[in-house]
């Protein structure tokens, strides 16, 4: 498949880097200010090198990537809320050209799911978005394979940063501020961690799962989610939980038409209390009980594998 990659952050660059391993070719790549296009396939190493040294992937206008020859548009620009632009516009442009779209950007399917599906219905192209939920973990394809109608609820740890902070606080008895600074030093938390620690990131993923489970019967957006973060949890709360054989984790839950993200008490030995940045999703299935999928929920190559798995499904 020929890929046009829009967005040259960690995920976009990893997709470009790994594409040839999976038998694909990158014909266009764009960042926010430029694009590189070659219908015969870009020299990915040269493009990534240029991005690193000059801060831009190429010399063409960024729009040129959208107009290039490709089979699949990989949308990996940063997640935006509300109108989900410019990601949504990129999805629209590709579908209107009857091209496939693979999203790593959560915005379009979390905030404008119905609009995206309406565009897809009119197009010969398909939209896939495995990479938007749980990084490398096959959450959405598991739901798709099992049948969304046969899954009554989903819950899990969908933000590695928040999980890292809570598990470190519990293990070391340290304050939130202390562990956050440590996480930032380790590159586990961003300089502005609000998206992660306020629960927004996990909520967007839950909203996407809710949209998939609802199968069009109802549309969910971030506004439908009840969201609480982890910033105000003192070490004493974790200590009391611990004394009782429990711990506190930021859990996202999709159940009974409700999307909820917040710190919850879980047994210390529960599947839903992994340590570090590990993610896990637990599905309540109709005929097979509880199904757990877990693994790395973020990172360049990890998320890129989910993107490339989606590309593979389109072949």
């Amino acid at each position: 498949m020929d890929l046009a990659i829009v967005g040259s952050g960690v995920v976009g660059r990893s997709v470009a880097d790994l594409a040839s391993d999976y038998g694909h070719r990158v014909t266009a790549m764009a960042d926010s200010s430029s694009a590189a296009v070659d219908p015969d396939g870009l020299d990915v190493a040269a493009v990534l090198d240029r991005k690193e040294t000059e801060g831009a992937v190429g010399t063409a206008d960024p729009e040129a990537a959208l107009e290039a020859d490709y089979d699949v548009l990989v949308e990996a620009t940063p997640t935006t809320l509300g109108d989900a632009q410019p990601g949504f516009g990129h999805v629209k442009a590709a579908l209107e050209r009857d091209r496939h779209v693979v999203l790593a950007n959560k915005g379009p399917v979390a905030e404008r799911y119905a609009d995206v599906m309406a565009l897809a219905a009119e197009s010969d192209g398909e939209v896939r978005f495995e990479a938007t939920v749980g990084g490398a973990i096959p959450v959405l394809s598991t739901i798709e394979d099992y049948g969304p109608g046969k899954i009554s609820a989903a819950r899990g740890i969908l933000n590695g940063t928040a999980n890292f902070i809570l598990s470190r606080m519990a293990a070391e008895g340290l304050s939130y501020e202390h562990v956050l600074a440590e996480a930032q030093d380790l590159g586990v938390a961003e300089a502005d961690p609000s998206f992660d620690v306020e629960g927004t990131d996990a909520a967007l993923k839950c909203v996407i799962v809710a949209n998939v489970l609802a199968q069009g019967a109802r549309e969910y957006t971030l506004e439908d989610a009840i969201v609480a973060g982890i910033e105000e949890i003192p070490p004493s709360a974790l200590e009391l939980a611990q004394e009782d054989g429990r711990t506190i984790r930021l859990i996202g839950e999709v159940s009974g038409g409700e999307v909820r993200v917040g710190p919850r008490l879980v047994p210390r030995d529960s599947d839903l209390a992994p340590d570090g940045t590990r993610n896990i999703v637990q599905l309540e299935t109709e005929n097979a009980g509880r199904l757990n999928v877990s693994g790395r929920g973020a990172g360049g190559p990890e998320t890129a594998t989910a993107v490339l798995a989606d590309v593979g499904r389109l072949e």
């Binding site: 949890i233 003192p234 004493s236 009782d244």
Partner: protein, 177 residues
């Protein structure tokens, strides 16, 4: 709710005792002897059944298996067991409250939890490492009825909300998680 056999549950047993000295003690012995943990005894001395017996309500904790042994032992000891196994407090709910617990009158919070929820506070742990004026945490365990977990939780939320306390709820209310 986990139905594992080793899970300790709360049970209420209603007994009818003959109004004689030592009757109550005789009724309680089989509970302790069979590994039950007595939570409370409500001895209605003024209230006499039509048969002239005194009703006593006993709350206890035991695993389901031990509870059966307890009921058998009570019956063997000639104690009249009116109701057993109808678990009045059959679900347990643990929450952690965070905030200015001390300055917002913890004992008032607890009595309101007792009065305004359908549950009963069976355990409390407070941690205020930085003193009464700072944010502290409390772990509160409530015993409630199987079908009332959600309403108990809502009542906890309402009391906490009023006092600007944060509630860390269990994942599956009253459940194993």
């Amino acid at each position: 709710m986990s139905d594992r056999a080793d899970t300790v549950r709360a049970y209420t047993v209603r007994l009818e005792l003959v109004d004689e000295p030592g009757e109550l003690l005789r009724a309680l012995e089989p509970i302790a002897n069979n590994g039950g943990n007595l939570l409370s005894i409500f001895h209605e001395r003024g209230n006499v059944t039509p048969r002239g017996h005194i009703p006593v309500e006993v709350d206890l904790e035991a695993t389901p298996e031990r509870f059966e042994d307890i009921v058998t032992a009570l019956q063997d000891a000639g104690v009249n067991v009116i109701q057993a196994g109808q678990e009045r407090y059959s679900a347990e709910l643990t929450v952690v409250l965070i905030g200015h617990l001390v300055n917002t009158d913890l004992s008032d919070t607890l009595s309101r939890l007792r009065d305004e929820t359908e549950g009963r506070v069976t355990d409390l742990s407070l941690s205020a490492p930085k003193g009464a004026d700072d944010v502290s945490s409390a772990r509160v365990r409530l015993a409630t009825e199987q079908g009332s977990v959600e309403s108990t939780l809502s009542a906890v939320r309402a009391v906490a909300d009023e006092k600007d306390l944060r509630v860390i709820e269990p994942l599956a209310a009253g459940g194993e998680a």
